[in-house]
Structure formats: C-alpha cells, structure tokens
Symmetry: C2
Subunit: 208 residues, 2 copies
DNA sequence: GCAAGAAGTGAATCAGGATTCATACTTTCA
DNA sequence: TGAAAGTATGAATCCTGATTCACTTCTTGC
C-alpha cells in the first residue's frame, strides 16, 4: 500500500500532456508535420522520448491530436463569423474572408493543415475537418435558402465546393516553394486578388 | 572491342523501361502509391530490384514518372473536350463533366492523383498538374471573355477555384473509406448530384 | 569461340525514425 | 524511515522499405 494517484499528480500529468501538445503544435507551426519527430519533441519538452509514451499511445495519435488542436481553432474562428447577424450572403462572405485571412497570416500552419503530405492517421483528421468546415458553410447555405435569399439544391455539396475552391486557390501561394519566391509586398497583393476572386466565385452562383 | 550499344539493345532498354512504367502504373491504379514498392514492382516485372535502378535513379523519380504518365492522360482528355467547337461556357461545362466522369470511373487512380498522401517528389508533380488543369480552364475563360460571353478578372485564379471545387467534391466520395460504405447504385446517383452541383457552382459565377 | 564489357541478380546493408525496456529515480504512506 | 509502487531515462532495438554491390550471366565484335 503505497503511492496512490493523488489529485495533484493527476493534475500535473494533465498539465504536462497539455504542455507537450502545445510544444508539438509549435513544431508544426514552425516546420510542418515533417518536423514533428519524437526525438525533437522530447528535446523541446526536456524529457526522454520514452516519457512521451506515457501520454500518447504513439506518434500517430500525437500527430492527430496536434492536427485537431490546430483545426479546432479554425473551426471555431469560422463558426464565430458565420454566427454573426446579417444575411446569409454577408456571413458567407465574411467566413470566406476570415478563412483566407487566417491562412495567409500563418502560412506554414495553413499549408500543414491543408496540403502537407501527412501520415494516414492525420489524413483521417484532415478529412474530418474539411467536412466540418463544409458543414458550417452548409448550415449558412440552408439558412439563406430558408429565408429565401437564394436557392441551393445540395447545400452540402456546394459547401464542399467552397472549401475546395478556397483551399486550392490558397495552396499554390502557400506552398513552401511558392513562398520562397515572392516578396512580402507581392504576397499582400496576392491576398487581395485571391480574396475578391473567391468571393465572386463562391457567391456568384448563389446570386443567379 | 566488345559490347557496344547497338540500336537493338537501346530499343530493348527503352521498351523495358516503358514496360516497367506501365506495370508501376498498374500497381498504382490497383492500390494507390502506397502499394508501389520496389520489391513488388520488381516481382511484377519479373526482374531483380537492383535492375530497376538501371532505368530509374530511385524510387522518387520512378513514382514521379508514374504520376506524370497518369496525369498526362487526364490533361489530354481535358484538352480534347475543351478544344471542341461551341461557346466557352459549353466547353467549360463539358470539361467539368469529363473530369468528374473520368475520376468517377477510376476512383482508386483518381484518389491517388488527387488526394493520396505521397512523397515530396510526387507531390511536386501533383502541384504542377493541378496548375496544368487550371491553365487549361483559364485558357477557355480568357476566350470566353474575349468573345464577350462573360467577364472574369483573374482567369488564372478562377480556374484554380474550379480545380479545387472539382477535386474537393470528388475527394470525399472517392476516398477509400467512403467507397467501402456505398453501393454501386448509390455511387452513380452521387455522381449525378456532384455533376450538376459542380456545373452550377463553377459556371454560376460567370453567368452573373 | 572467346575475351571484354554490359546487364542482371538478390541477399545484405543502410537509413531514419518510432518504440521498447532494463535501470535509476520519486513519491507515497504506514 | 523504508518498502511499495509509479515515473523517467535514453541507448539499444525494431521496422519498413530503399539502395547497394560482389558476383553471375549475357552480348558483342573480332
């Protein structure tokens, strides 16, 4: 009879897990999933590689959690703008702009979330979250339809189109190669063009 | 004074290389890039793994070539419909339909080309080809604009949006998981919905 | 037919990370 | 304080394929 799981220890454990997760996220923000290795993470957290396994069953689970952590924020940011007052069209517009803006402002992370080659467990989360973004847009599309703002026959598919269009138009400029070639000033210009194109393209079909 | 590179030998070499490439493509068509390994390919080609290296500098180069081989076909198919007579709008419509149809008809391959996690050398080609599809659409967009059919401020970006929308709306249903869950009949229905949604979505903005 | 030079072979090796585990250290509590 | 039980360590091991290379087998041109 010795050493029970005291509340303090449990709390410390949870805190440490959280801490590790944050550090892992920092690595991904910095260099994408490619730079998230167990050794590097352990070093960053100043612990032994083996200790990581007390908190996570394996690399895949860890990476998937990091992905979710980052994506959840994006979902929430999107949710926030989509839930404001205003017509469905206005809100969609604001949503698209927010999405693009956020991606543009943390390009390495956006690229990691949208397009970096990742292992299957992470890819699975990617699909889930793309679905989640689409569902948010779909919700607003349905509302707009109910209020007679426009007609959409398959909100869910239209929403997927939106997510695809947004991602694709961002991926080119976001990719590490592309980023290496353009100046900061050009990049800001690019965003403006991308933004207005996206708005026209995604919402144009609804107007008609 | 012995063993020169006779024309016959060179021809045989080229033929063998071509043959290996086709077998590699077959593996990818069958099970995606994940199932393209040097050992498996060697076995399929009935040769030693080492011999593959006489034709290809390494796995990456080989995989990239396979990707190009498959993608080139798609580009050509798209080019073909986009080059027919008719208004730009009609041709765009036909292009989108062809793209979706082809993807639907060889789902494993389409998924491998569009969304499967692949190594960097292949990812690079992926970007190039997405660019190529976009350029084809952009060409037609410019023609339509010249003929006064519609206005587009950034044909290249709009084209990227189209490619993104098409890919995304296909990726969901194309992914191995999704495919495992739906019947053949459902799948044909899905295609119809996807197709009409894509047409509306991609061309709707142009009409206005 | 034969020697020189290619091409083919495939088991062994390498590479790069994830994962394990014997060992050492901490915490708990009677 | 000390025994019991948990936690931390990190070098060693494993894993999965790609890649190599010493050796064998063909081709060619005389």
């Amino acid at each position: 009879m010795a050493y029970r799981h005291t509340p303090e220890r449990q709390a410390r454990d949870r805190a440490q897990r959280e801490h590790v997760l944050q550090l892992a996220l920092a690595l991904v923000v910095e260099g994408g999933f490619a730079s998230l290795t167990m050794q590097r993470l352990a070093k960053a957290a100043d612990m032994a590689t083996g200790s990581l396994y007390r908190h996570f069953a394996g690399k895949g689970e860890l990476a998937a959690e990091v992905f979710c952590l980052a994506s959840q924020r994006e979902v929430e940011a999107l949710q926030e703008v989509l839930a404001t007052d205003g017509s469905a069209l206005q809100r969609l517009r604001a949503g698209i702009e927010r999405f693009a803006r956020r991606a543009w402002d943390s390009r390495q992370l956006a690229w990691a979330l949208i397009a970096e080659p990742v292992d299957p467990q992470v890819e699975e989360q990617r699909l889930r979250y793309r679905e989640a973004y689409a569902e948010l847009f779909a919700g607003v599309l349905r509302e707009g339809e109910q209020h007679g703002e426009f007609r959409v026959s398959h909100p869910h598919l239209v929403a997927a189109c939106m997510v695809g269009a947004i991602s694709e138009v961002l991926v080119g400029p976001l990719s590490p190669q592309a980023r290496a070639q353009r100046s900061e000033a050009q990049v800001e210009d690019d965003l403006q063009q991308v933004r207005s194109t996206l708005i026209h393209f995604c919402l144009g079909a609804l107007a008609s």
